[in-house]
């Protein structure tokens, strides 16, 4: 019951924020260095005349699907920049089901930038759905191609550190993002810039600067205040021996 109430309340907050954004009251969105760094890694690859390896993680039929969607959103931006600057972009889909999505994104990006002839389907390197076969493929590609930059966005597990350390060995600048809490420490320690937790979900709104999308990000912040208030009130009530709020929010 609490979940439904929270969803409805959050839906109302989102509707209010979208309404305000449409009226012209667009909230400020804080700087996300991880997304700003995408331009830097693309520029580095362009100047060095080397490639960029972009890989998206997360199964589309599981709880990590939002992370994969966020990865696709950033791929769209990176592909358009790469097409504009004539930079060699190589995409490695984590799962076979990603192949048509990333192919479509990259192809459409080249078309949008007026260079449809530069799209090459062989730049989409699929290795395997099996975790370590995929990891071996990407590590091998980093070692062989010696790209300028590695961008990895989405849901990662043990392969995350393998990619980042291989990139470090070959002096590849890496930008990573994940909402998998167990991989966040590795992403933070081993990448030049990173997106952790909710930051990767804000990428679409941050990149497009669409007022309505930015409004939904602001709604997330209001939701955070609601949760913080509930935590504060809950602590006070629980300390006083009153458990009704704890019972309501219990899943």
């Amino acid at each position: 019951m609490f979940q439904l109430v929270f969803l409805l309340v959050f839906g109302i907050i989102v509707a209010i924020m979208i309404y305000m954004a449409k009226k012209g009251k667009v909230p400020e969105i804080r700087r996300l260095p991880g997304i700003d760094a995408l331009d830097e890694v693309i520029g580095r690859a362009t100047e060095m005349g080397k490639s960029i390896i972009y890989t998206v993680g997360g199964l589309l039929t599981d709880v990590e699907a939002p992370q994969a969607i966020a990865g696709f959103t950033m791929l769209s931006y990176v592909a358009r920049k790469a097409a504009k600057t004539n930079t060699d972009l190589r995409v490695v889909p984590r799962f076979a089901v990603h192949i048509p999505v990333v192919t479509d994104i990259v192809q459409a990006a080249y078309l949008a930038e007026g260079h449809p002839e530069k799209f090459n389907a062989e730049k989409i390197h699929y290795y395997s759905d099996t975790q370590f076969a995929f990891a071996t493929g990407v590590m091998g590609q980093i070692a062989r191609d010696k790209p300028a930059s590695l961008i990895m966005m989405g849901a990662w597990w043990a392969e995350c550190l393998q990619f980042l350390e291989t990139a470090a060995i070959h002096n590849v600048m890496s930008v990573g993002g994940t909402a998998n809490t167990h991989q966040i420490p590795f992403i933070v320690l081993c990448t030049s810039e990173c997106l952790i937790g909710e930051e990767i979900f804000a990428a679409g709104a941050y990149l497009s600067r669409d007022p309505v999308s930015v409004g939904t990000i602001a709604a997330g912040d209001v939701g955070r205040y609601v949760i913080l208030t509930m935590i504060g009130v809950g602590v006070v009530l629980a300390t006083a021996g009153i458990k009704w709020l704890t019972d309501i929010v219990k899943l």
Binding site: V14, D39, L60, T61, P66, I69, A70, T73, S76, Y77, A96, V97, I99, P100, D104, I105, Q107, A108, E122, I124, Y126, Y127, S128, D129, T130, Q131, F132, A133, T136, R144, L161, Q162, L164, E165, A168, A179, T181, I184, F186, L189, G197, E198, E199, F201, A202, G204, A205, Y206, L207, S208, R209, D210, V212, S213, T216, I217, G220, G223, R224, I227
Partner: protein
């Protein structure tokens, strides 16, 4: 294919299905549960079919490299030979029981996977060496807390000083737990807002590359 079919139709399907799944989550109706289960099965079936697409993509890329005699082309040929041997022997009935398939699986695949996983031990060490340098205050805090946590988890920590496990456990239970819970709450809200944007059709960069510029 027109933009409508490439962008709008997937968006409408995704929005309708997402809205349906939310309704099904809150309404305990058997008919909705059955439909929801079927929809999830479709996802699994589509993923399974996509593996065929993966084989086609891998074959096309590798054949291109072999035909052009690019550097290391024999390895790409070897990859194709092994892949088709595994697929072929695996499909000979009874499925997955052919001696060649089982031999390759038990003697190559499992050991190679274990080896790749084991490499993590070395990568964690090299990452720790680079990370545990007190270049600034933040890095120094990581270094100090990391040393206490490692010494807590290693038996030698308690032998050196009985207070080490207490301090290490405090780092795990208080600052680490608080930070992680904050991040998890943020992730939950981030997923909600992304979901709402996707259902309403504002998040569409993954559809036919219609993503905007910064």
């Amino acid at each position: 294919m027109s933009t409508f079919y490439r962008s709008q139709v997937p968006l409408i399907i995704a929005s309708l299905l997402a809205a349906f799944m939310i309704v099904e989550f809150f309404l305990d109706w058997a008919v909705l549960r059955t439909i929801s289960s079927d929809i999830q099965s479709w996802g699994v079936v589509i993923s399974a079919f996509a593996l065929g697409l993966g084989v086609v993509t891998l074959t096309r890329n590798n054949v291109g490299i072999i035909r052009r005699r690019e550097k290391n082309w024999p390895y790409y040929l070897w990859c194709l030979i092994i892949m088709f041997t595994m697929i072929g022997s695996g499909l000979i009935g009874p499925l997955g029981k052919h001696p060649v398939f089982l031999w390759l699986y038990n003697n190559a695949f499992i050991h190679l996977s274990s080896t790749m996983y084991s490499i993590l031990a070395f990568f964690i060490t090299t990452a720790a060496v680079r990370a545990f340098r007190a270049r600034n205050i933040d890095a120094a805090l990581v270094l100090v807390s990391g040393v206490f946590v490692i010494m807590t988890l290693a038996p030698i920590g308690a032998t050196i000083w009985s207070g080490i496990p207490l301090i290490g456990q405090w780092f795990l239970d208080v600052p680490n737990m608080a930070g992680m819970r904050g991040i998890i709450i943020g992730i939950g809200l981030g997923v909600l807002t992304l979901g709402i944007r996707t259902i309403l059709g504002y998040e569409r960069a993954h559809l036919a590359g219609s993503g905007g510029e910064k």
